[in-house]
Amino acid sequence: MGKIKVRVKINGKERSDEVEPRMLLAHYLRDVVGATGTHIGCDTSNCGACTVVMDGKAVKSCTVLVGQANGREIKTVEGLSQNGKLSKIQKAFLDKHGLQCGYCTSGMLMASYWLLKKNKKPNEEEIRRNLSGNLCRCTGYQNIVEAVKYASELIEKEGEEEEVVVESQ
């Protein structure tokens, strides 16, 4: 199979790779980039474990071909903490016990991160609706919702993290 060249900025760092055009962004991140924090939990774009933020918008990376990510900017769970310091949404998930097995967590974090970017103070219903594309089998969601609320409070109190810009290679 012929290959295509893609240039993608991942967590602030630009890279280019030659890949099969059929490759999914999720597999590209995991198998080519080695960013295994992005998980795959289904093959029908229902579970949201693979959620990443592409050009500022949450997408399910199992439904994006890597070619569609060409020239775009991707943020994955590995890009949430900065200089070794957990971001507020990560801290909130830990403090509120918003995870158990951890498998859905990357996708939940990225979907929540995106929600808080567009809505700084979501109410309970907005949080639940915005996370409806991310399935969790462990927590019963209650603590995840609490975590998003708490992160929203932290952001209100302390402000958002500065996005660290990493220069291109």
């Binding site: 099969e20 059929r22 490759m23 597999h27 995991r30 198998d31 960013a35 295994t36 924090g37 992005t38 998980h39 795959i40 939990g41 289904c42 093959d43 029908t44 229902n46 579970c47 474990a49 994955t76 769970v77 590995e78 949430l80 903490s81 957990l86 990560q90 998930f93 830990l94 016990h97 995870l99 158990q100 097995c101 951890g102 498998y103 859905c104 967590t105 990357s106 974090l109 309970e124 219903e125 949080i127 639940r128 609706r129 996370l131 409806s132 594309g133 991310n134 399935l135 969790c136 089998r137 462990c138 927590t139 019963g140 969601y141 209650q142 603590n143 995840i144 919702v145």
Partner: protein
């Protein structure tokens, strides 16, 4: 490191994150038919290369290989949709998928046997066997009741549901010429090893199973699966590491689902609501092969009197073979089924006598410990239940007009105990358990117990992932048993370390312990029962078209002493959503012709955040007699919630509910 920190950073190491040099990816050619003759088969690794059968290990496993054991590859015919027929191996996951087309299979489809009743009448699905009955036994003692004025009969069905951990199954196998090493997403590395040893006829010393971070299990990941044997065999044959990662589609067709149990029940009662006896038949749809299905019907029958002091009981327990993927344990694993069956009958009796369901329940409770005619030992149910009604503000906040009650006894899997190893070295403590945590938070109770027993601060204590080379003997994390059994093993091992420190230093102090090197691997033998009570109350809202929403769901469980509040509450809230799911949406469904109708995780009914409310969780901390005071917990919500919710749906719609999931057509208003 705080538990969970690596996961919020995306730094977990799940099995699909493990990559070894030269690794092959495995993909499986699966039967597209529920039942077919394999007329011809060319290509891939298949039964002509490997003829072995599966060993029944893990929860409810007999440890044996018998005539009903599943062949690792289908041999001459297929018996369920999704059954492994051949395996192919590629340099990456895409190439492995491509290679599926290189296998040429010619099937001659046969009429499948899809349901329990059909299985009882049909010719055997396996040539050389007499019928489709896997198990048929009686539990309890025959009795005659000609005096009870009320005799009620009904039938109930808990249809099959997928276990659906968010991380599907997966393994990486490698062989160095002497030893097979397998990394697995696991609830029991020990059982997987035992299974590989039995099924592949290997020496125990030549197999090591290591747990990877495990993204949920819920019963599925406690035993051996055909794909594990195939990956192990291929790693040995090709002398290259082999990775197999299940897709969700494969999970829905080929991972052992739970439930799939039906009961025809008769109760004999007085006009005062007192039940004098219970009889009936419990049927388990075991699927195409033995395994957990051999254990399940007897286990359900044994619990059929629930938390009630019913003096007579005689129950037939049957498992039938059908052309479906073999049934397996799913959170509760027989406990929710038994509870559902008896709770439905108790509600029916309440309706018959026009009594409040709480009063009928109380009428059948003992204030003393009770041993049922089916063998189930329970404590005094009445005081606990009366407390539960108070906690629920029953009669005020909730009334029997709309709210449903579920009351149950949780039977944790105690025997034969569990293993634990504690190693102190360079000022830090490493702990291994015989059962593998799959997200329940074992690290938390381990840290609590080490802090209490050895006085060592939690940040110095790290729970390690399961590893059969690290712990000599272990069982597994299922059956609400880990805090009980692994906790007891940690305490016993801590005691031995204390003795050693005293021998070395003259007295014990955490500083002394941390300044030395100690390594204790202990198996704590345990037997008997440690049954505990729990109750739920739920209120449903049902739309005219039959869509169900849960308005309220409260829990009150006797969990014994709480070792970690976060873990206990987390277990309960997560389990509640699974209990609700079983009632409102979760199902693995087939057509009569054997087509799988459940095509996605959404179809299988896993609930999302916008479909459930917040829950109210209350616990009774009645200490057990164990040194750490704990009781079982993990399965409580999947036992208690379905009965409570179904009763509420029944009250709200006025329609008798017998089966789960409740389908919209069962309850929609007649339009």
């Amino acid at each position: 490191m705080i538990t969970g920190q690596k996961f919020v950073e995306g730094k977990g190491t799940y099995v699909d994150d493990i990559n070894l040099p030269g690794m092959l990816y495995m993909a499986i050619v699966r039967s597209p038919y529920s039942r077919a003759k394999i007329a011809s088969l060319k290509g891939g690794l298949n039964s002509s290369d490997y003829e072995g059968r599966m060993a029944s290990v893990g929860e409810g496993g007999s440890g044996e290989i018998n005539i009903y054991s599943e062949p690792v590859f289908a041999q001459g015919y297929t018996s369920y949709l999704g059954q492994p027929v051949a395996a192919v191996f590629g340099e990456d996951r895409y190439k492995a998928e491509d290679l599926l087309n290189s296998v040429d299979v010619e099937y001659e489809p046969l009429k499948p046997v899809m349901e329990i009743d059909a299985a009882l009448k049909a010719d055997p699905i396996h040539p050389g066997t007499k019928n489709n009955i896997l198990i048929d036994k009686w539990v309890g003692k025959e009795f005659k009741d000609t005096s009870s004025p009320i005799v009620l009969e009904d039938s109930f069905y808990n249809r099959r549901v997928a276990t659906n951990p968010m991380e599907p199954r997966g393994v990486v196998a490698t062989y160095d010429g002497n030893r097979l090493t397998m990394w697995a997403s696991s609830q029991s590395s020990q059982s997987i090893k035992e299974g590989l040893v039995e099924a592949m006829n290997l020496s125990p010393d030549s197999v090591r199973v290591i747990q990877a971070d495990t993204g949920g299990g819920f019963g599925l990941k406690g035993g051996l699966h055909p794909e594990y044997v195939i990956a192990a065999h291929a790693a040995m044959k090709y002398k290259r590491p082999v990775k197999w990662i299940e897709t969700r589609s494969e999970h829905l067709s080929s991972s052992n689902p739970g439930r799939g149990a039906r009961a025809d029940i008769k109760i004999f009662a007085g006009k005062n609501g007192i039940i004098n006896g219970v009889t009936g038949e419990v049927y388990v749809d075991a699927g195409a092969y033995g395994g957990f299905g051999e254990f399940a019907p007897g286990f359900i029958a044994y619990q059929l009197t629930g938390p009630y002091a019913i003096p007579n009981g005689y129950v037939r327990a049957i498992a039938t073979l059908t052309n479906k993927v073999p049934q397996g344990p799913y959170r509760g694993a027989g406990r929710p089924e038994a509870s559902y069956f008896i709770e439905r009958m108790v509600d029916l009796l309440a309706d018959e006598l026009k009594m409040d369901p709480a009063d009928v329940r109380i009428a059948n409770m003992s204030s003393e410990p009770f041993k049922s005619p089916l063998g189930l030992e329970i404590g005094a149910a009445k005081p606990f239940f009366q407390d539960a009604l108070k906690e629920f503000e029953y009669g005020k906040r909730f009334t029997s007009d709309t709210a449903g009650l579920g009351f149950f006894v949780l039977v944790p899997g105690i025997g034969p105990g569990e293993g634990a190893r504690i190693k102190i070295e360079k000022g830090r403590v490493k702990v291994w358990l015989g059962g593998d945590t799959a997200g329940q938070g074992h690290q938390e109770f381990v840290r609590t117990l080490i802090r209490e027993e050895l006085g060592i601060a939690s940040d110095l204590v790290e729970l390690q992932l399961g590893d059969t080379d690290a712990v000599k003997r272990g069982v597994g994390a299922w059956g609400s048993r880990s805090a009980i059994t692994a906790g007891a093993a940690v305490i016993a091992a801590s005691g031995k370390i204390k003795d050693m420190v005293i021998k070395d230093f003259g007295d014990y102090s955490p500083e002394n312990a941390l300044s030395g090197s100690y390594d204790i691997d202990h198996f704590e033998e345990m037997k008997g029962t440690l049954n505990s009570f729990g109750a739920n109350i739920a209120v449903a809202d049902v739309s005219p078209l039959g869509a169900i929403r849960v308005k309220d769901c409260w829990s009150y469980y006797d969990v014994g002493r709480v070792l970690s509040k976060e873990s206990v509450w987390g277990q309960i809230m997560g389990g509640i959503v699974q209990g609700i799911g079983q009632v409102v949406s979760e199902e693995i469904a087939y057509s009569d012709e054997g087509e799988l109708l459940t095509g996605s995780i959404a179809d299988s009914g896993v609930l999302s955040a916008d479909q459930v409310p917040n829950f109210v969780v209350k616990v009774a901390e009645n200490r057990s007699d164990l040194p750490h005071g704990v009781k079982g917990l993990g399965e409580a919500p999947t036992i208690g919630v379905p009965s409570a919710l179904v009763r509420s749906i029944e009250k709200v719609t006025g329609k008798r509910i017998r089966d789960t999931p409740v389908r919209p057509e069962d309850i929609a208003e007649d339009l």
